[in-house]
Symmetry: C2
Subunit: 135 residues, 2 copies
């Protein structure tokens, strides 16, 4: 995803394309990946740009609300932000903390139980926890 795509995406969602939002998007949305807020802040620093922590969090939250990124909670200590928003699943390496995608089509879920009364389903996510083979 390149700059013009990002601007189009923002326009489609009525998101004002501020300098800071574009910069965050250019880091996160370039490829399918899973970054924590801090990783994004670090990369911004590295490239000399100084977007504030508060703005990064505001922006990620905004993107999340518009479904432009997906929040992933696999690690107990931090959220990851996923640039792939289509339904899919994940491997989570509990040792390294790495996340890897699993295509939705690679997991077939047969039946699903009835939802609790008064609720509607928002997502179904499969998380396969793995750890390095010891030996």
């Amino acid at each position: 995803m390149m700059r013009s795509d990002i601007l189009d995406l923002f326009e489609k969602h009525d998101i004002l394309p501020t300098q800071q939002r574009v910069e965050v998007a250019q880091i996160l949305l370039v490829r399918p990946q899973h970054l924590s807020a801090e990783q994004i802040i670090d990369r911004l620093m590295q490239q000399g740009s100084s977007v504030s922590k508060a703005t990064v969090y505001n922006t990620l939250k905004l993107f999340g609300e518009h479904g432009i990124v997906k929040e992933i909670m696999a690690d107990p200590v931090r959220k990851f932000y996923d640039s792939s928003t289509l339904p899919h699943h994940h491997f989570y390496n509990v040792d390294t903390g790495e996340l890897h995608d699993i295509a939705e089509s690679d997991v077939s879920i047969g039946s699903l139980p009835l939802l609790p009364a008064g609720t509607r389903q928002e997502s179904v996510e499969v998380l396969i926890r793995v750890r390095p083979t010891e030996n």
Copy 2:
């Protein structure tokens, strides 16, 4: 699960049955449930017992390492400790933060993808995010 069961369980796992560990176990392991560390601390307080916060966390971590309880990360801000350790799945109500069990047999997972090289599978968990129907 009653007191003697807890003591047996501890013995099986070579866990020294200290006063504090037994008290924590008696709160969490009595029934299938999902409690946060703070909920456990609150209940200890209520019943007059004063186990320190540090010990509660130490104990929950110990139980987790022995597979006596399972840590669940569905809520971004806190862990939940699940007294059911057999494989099963969850509904997570994103509005209320409540977790509800889904029997393993209620979800049939067909195929699973190849694991990343050099890793072994630890668990497969399905999390169905739900929210109250608005209207």
